[in-house]
């Protein structure tokens, strides 16, 4: 169904619905909004809340971060981390701004390891 890279949330939702054969009103019911709301999202006439994007990602079994990115939204959980660490996180992000994708992946592994150790 997907031709090339999908660049809008509207197209991504349409493609995933087609792929999984979920009806427009059916998807609305799965995420507790009207079919008209989904229709408007797919026409790019309205923007979803982060909470709705989470529900859409779950219903369509897709990556929530990709949907949030397409919706120009930041995961509220990530916003919380920044707000709870108002100095450390911005400083960390500034120092990491030139990292390569591979270095980001390596860094994430390290952070996950540290998180696991701190929970022991």
């Amino acid at each position: 169904m997907t031709n090339g890279e999908v660049t809008t949330l509207a197209d991504k939702i349409k493609d995933l619905r087609a792929e999984k054969r979920i009806g427009i009103r059916e998807l609305g019911r799965m995420v507790d909004v009207s079919g008209m709301h989904i229709s408007n999202l797919e026409k790019g006439k309205s923007a979803p809340s982060p909470e709705l994007v989470r529900k859409l990602a779950a219903a369509l079994e897709t990556d929530v971060d990709e949907l949030l990115h397409l919706a120009d939204l930041v995961d509220p959980e990530a916003v919380n981390v920044i707000q709870n660490n108002p100095f450390a996180v911005p400083a960390f992000l500034r120092s990491a701004k030139n990292l390569t994708p591979e270095q980001w992946a390596e860094l994430q592994k390290q952070v996950e390891k540290m998180s696991e150790e701190s929970q022991k």
Partner: protein
């Protein structure tokens, strides 16, 4: 015999198209064929309740738009189809009404199956116009699309099997009794996505109910309320009543 139909488009360049009359058998067969094709597409047998949303979107490739804007600010316009851009529009006002929502989409699918080819051939320059389903007007092609919608949502075989599976009440003389019987057929036949009125009409169309008995009962309701002075007035009232219920 062909009849001329001036469709209720919103633009000033309305035009007339000759649509042929179609027999009920032809329309029934067209609905059966679509279900058969959809079954092949799905890779499994299709059973009731029929997902007309899936047929429209995933099999026929239509985009369904649910809207309350423009033409659809008027709740009398239930739906429409734009052949040129493969769009089926549904009035948001019917979205929460299970029967009306499904019947509206099935009706537009009926236009696709029965009228699209003729429409596009006759109106190459006007293909962006919309055929609309409204609550008040029933020209020939609207009646045909209604019959198709009924045949699609309530397949003859499914209705027949449900009717055979339940004991038929000895008396079906009042609208209430008729509606109760239709509700049982709907439940037994797993056709919960249609309205009770649609099932009553389907049972009449398929000959399982006598139209006369239903009308007699309904007329009685009206005669008590409206006291029509002559039969013609009564018939018009009855027709309007049935349309409102649809």
């Amino acid at each position: 015999m062909a009849r001329s139909y001036r469709h209720p488009n919103m633009t000033s360049n309305a035009f007339s198209i000759e649509f042929p009359e179609l027999s009920d058998d032809h329309i029934e067969a067209s609905a059966r064929q679509l279900l058969s094709d959809f079954s092949e597409f799905s890779g499994s047998s299709v059973s009731t309740p029929i997902s007309v949303e899936s047929i429209a979107e995933h099999f026929l490739g239509y985009e369904i738009e649910i809207s309350d804007e423009g033409l659809f600010a008027d709740p009398d316009y239930l739906g429409g189809i734009i052949f040129a851009s493969n769009v089926i529009q549904v009035n948001a006002s019917v979205e929460s009404n299970e029967g009306r929502y499904n019947f509206t989409i099935a009706h537009e699918i009926g236009h696709h199956v029965l009228h699209r080819q003729i429409y596009l051939e006759a109106s190459a320059e006007n293909a962006s116009n919309i055929l609309c389903r409204d609550t008040n007007d029933k020209p020939l092609i609207e009646q045909q699309a209604d019959r198709f919608a009924a045949a699609l949502l309530m397949p003859q075989q499914a209705v027949s099997e449900a009717v055979s599976a339940i004991p038929r009440p000895s008396k079906l003389k009042t609208p209430r009794a008729v509606r109760g019987y239709a509700a049982t057929v709907t439940k037994v036949g797993s056709m919960g996505n249609v309205s009770n009125t649609a099932m009553v009409n389907r049972l009449i169309d398929l000959g399982y109910l006598s139209e006369a008995s239903y009308q007699r009962g309904t007329s009685h309701d009206f005669s008590r309320r409206a006291r029509p002075s002559f039969r013609g007035t009564l018939w018009r009232l009855l027709t309007r009543y049935r349309r409102r219920l649809k």
